[in-house]
């Protein structure tokens, strides 16, 4: 599972850092590299664009993972370049941005929007696979998640907007329930779909999600 990101419009980034002149850029060697949004090349391109736009890039870093390798150690390694910067522009998912905000002791701005947790299919094509609902229903949907793959998150079958296997929202979205039906049919398990599924709890994970494994399972469940 990767965190799928998209670069913000450059004008938006400039607006977000309008009061800052000196910029240190942090990328990410994993998800953002895969998405071509915050790898070595994109970080270099951003440095160039910012320079053209009149900013001073004090340094760049592309740690193997932006989420957990932006550490106090990194603050030490890049201390002079970081110290010279007014702001850290982070080209990773929101996790990396928040890690940088905590570890680097500098104001941060995100250069990317975090879109979803997804997988890469054909090269360059990403799709969402899980919404982290906390009540997994894959046992009765043929291993296809209707909470994620159905635009409306329907649990009891397709809506009337399904059209030859496509979803009414368009843009290439397929009807999850057509896929679920076909898979359950091929498995001889359509009874799973015929069964009534009651409304989900939208608080199965009390947001913000917290899990403390130092507690017993029962205590953790009660949190």
């Amino acid at each position: 599972m990767k965190t799928i990101t998209r670069q913000k419009p450059f004008e938006q980034i400039l607006e977000d850092i309008s009061s800052d002149t000196r910029v240190f850029i942090v990328g990410c060697g994993t998800c953002a590299t895969l998405c071509h949004t915050g790898g070595v090349e994109e970080v270099a391109a951003m440095a160039e664009k910012l320079t053209v736009a009149g900013k001073i890039v004090t340094g760049v870093a592309v740690p193997p993972t932006g989420c957990d390798e932006v550490t106090s150690e990194m603050r030490y390694v890049f201390r002079d370049r970081l110290r010279a910067a007014d702001i850290v522009l982070v080209m990773s998912c929101a996790f990396g941005v928040q890690t940088a905000a905590t570890q680097l002791k500098k104001p941060v701005a995100p250069a990317l929007d975090t879109l979803f947790m997804g997988k890469e299919g054909p090269a360059g094509h990403y799709s969402e696979i899980c919404m982290q609902c906390g009540e997994c229903v894959l046992a009765y949907t043929g291993g296809i998640c209707p909470v994620t793959a159905c635009h409306k998150g329907l649990l009891n079958g397709p809506c009337g907007g399904t059209d030859n296997g496509m979803c009414e929202v368009g843009n290439g979205r397929e009807c999850a329930w057509t896929h679920i039906y076909n898979r359950l049919l091929s498995q001889g398990r359509l009874d799973r779909m015929r069964q009534y599924h009651p409304p989900k709890s939208h608080n199965a994970v009390l947001r913000p999600g917290i899990l403390d494994l130092t507690h017993s399972r029962e205590e953790a469940a009660a949190q």
Binding site: H151, K152, G153, L154, L155, N156, G157, P158, C159, G160, G161, T162, D163, N164, G165, C167, E168, V169, W177, T178, I180, Y181, L185, L190, M193, R194, Y196, H197, P198, P199, H202
Partner: protein, 294 residues
């Protein structure tokens, strides 16, 4: 028991029609349509932010139908309200004499005019039906006892021309199991296809009203074939509309609707019809007259 429910149970050929609330608070055109149709039909559906386009609420429209002396069928989608809001609206509806509800999933927000709104879909249409059944058993969805129990005549929809059809039929059966007493179908035009659907649907204890959408031009028919999921207008009907003399396409559409209703009634293909005139409400009395309903 509601007048509409009585009509369904009487075995008569039931006719319902659709009222579309305004975008804003000028209720005069809607009032006019209600007055025009209320005594000609067994129930008047009021749409709920249809196609995800903001309108005066279906609850307000249904209340207006009631106040004018008609029989409202409240359309309720799961798109804009969570289970708390839906139940509260059902309490209000019942307290004001609105006792027929059509349960729908609702179109996606992004097809409408407030594309950045949050689509709620806390429940789906089957769960909404089940929740209304729970309310009529004197409990809310959380299991708490109610002070005063609302009882509704519950309905749902089906799309007989959906492709693929089988997954829709699974859901259709779940809607009936969840307590749907009547079904209003998406618009149907191909009566052979509809006969096949009814051969299947008759096995279930539910009243089925065939959806009739008035065609106003060959262009509209072609547009719907291309863009509206689950609508299929056969070529002979498109040709008939295209061949209408200039300015007479609506008249041809009215004739097609009337003819379709007449056949459904005479052959007893369904338990009734649901007419969605979509802006051509003025033509409904004439359609019913030509169809030999009254």
């Amino acid at each position: 028991m509601s007048r509409f429910k009585e009509a369904l149970d009487s075995g008569k050929f039931v006719v319902t029609a659709e009222i579309g609330p305004p975008k804003g608070v000028n209720l005069e055109p809607m009032k006019h349509h209600i007055e025009l149709l209320k005594d000609l039909v067994d129930g008047l559906n009021v749409t709920d932010n249809q196609s995800s386009v903001l309108r005066y609420p279906s609850l307000g429209g249904a209340l207006l139908v009631k106040e004018i002396g008609g029989e409202p069928i409240l359309q309720m989608t799961c798109r804009d309200r969570n289970r708390l809001a839906l139940q509260a609206d059902l309490f209000f509806a019942y307290s004001r004499g609105i006792t027929n509800v059509l349960c729908l999933t609702g179109d996606a927000v992004v097809v409408g005019d407030h594309k950045d709104a949050k689509g709620v879909f806390d429940l789906d249409s089957v769960q909404l039906l089940d929740m209304i059944q729970t309310l009529s058993d004197g409990k809310d969805l959380a299991g708490n006892p109610l002070d005063g129990t609302p009882r509704f005549c519950k309905g749902a929809i089906v799309t007989p021309e959906a492709q693929p059809l089988e997954p829709q039929l699974v859901k259709f059966e779940k809607k009936i199991e969840a307590g749907a007493e009547f079904i209003q179908t998406q618009a149907i035009y191909d009566l052979n296809n509809f006969r096949n659907f009814m051969d299947y649907a008759r096995k279930f204890k539910v009243k089925i009203l065939a959806g009739i959408v008035v065609l106003v031009s060959a262009g509209m028919a072609k547009f719907m074939n291309k863009n509206v999921p689950g609508i299929f207008v056969p070529k002979p009907l498109i040709d008939e509309l295209a061949g209408a003399p200039k300015g007479k396409a609506l008249e041809t559409g009215i004739n097609i609707a009337a003819r379709t209703i007449r056949i459904i009634k005479e052959e007893r293909l369904a338990d009734g019809v649901h007419i969605m005139a979509i802006g051509k409400e003025e033509s409904v009395p004439r359609i019913l007259d030509l169809a030999g309903i009254y």
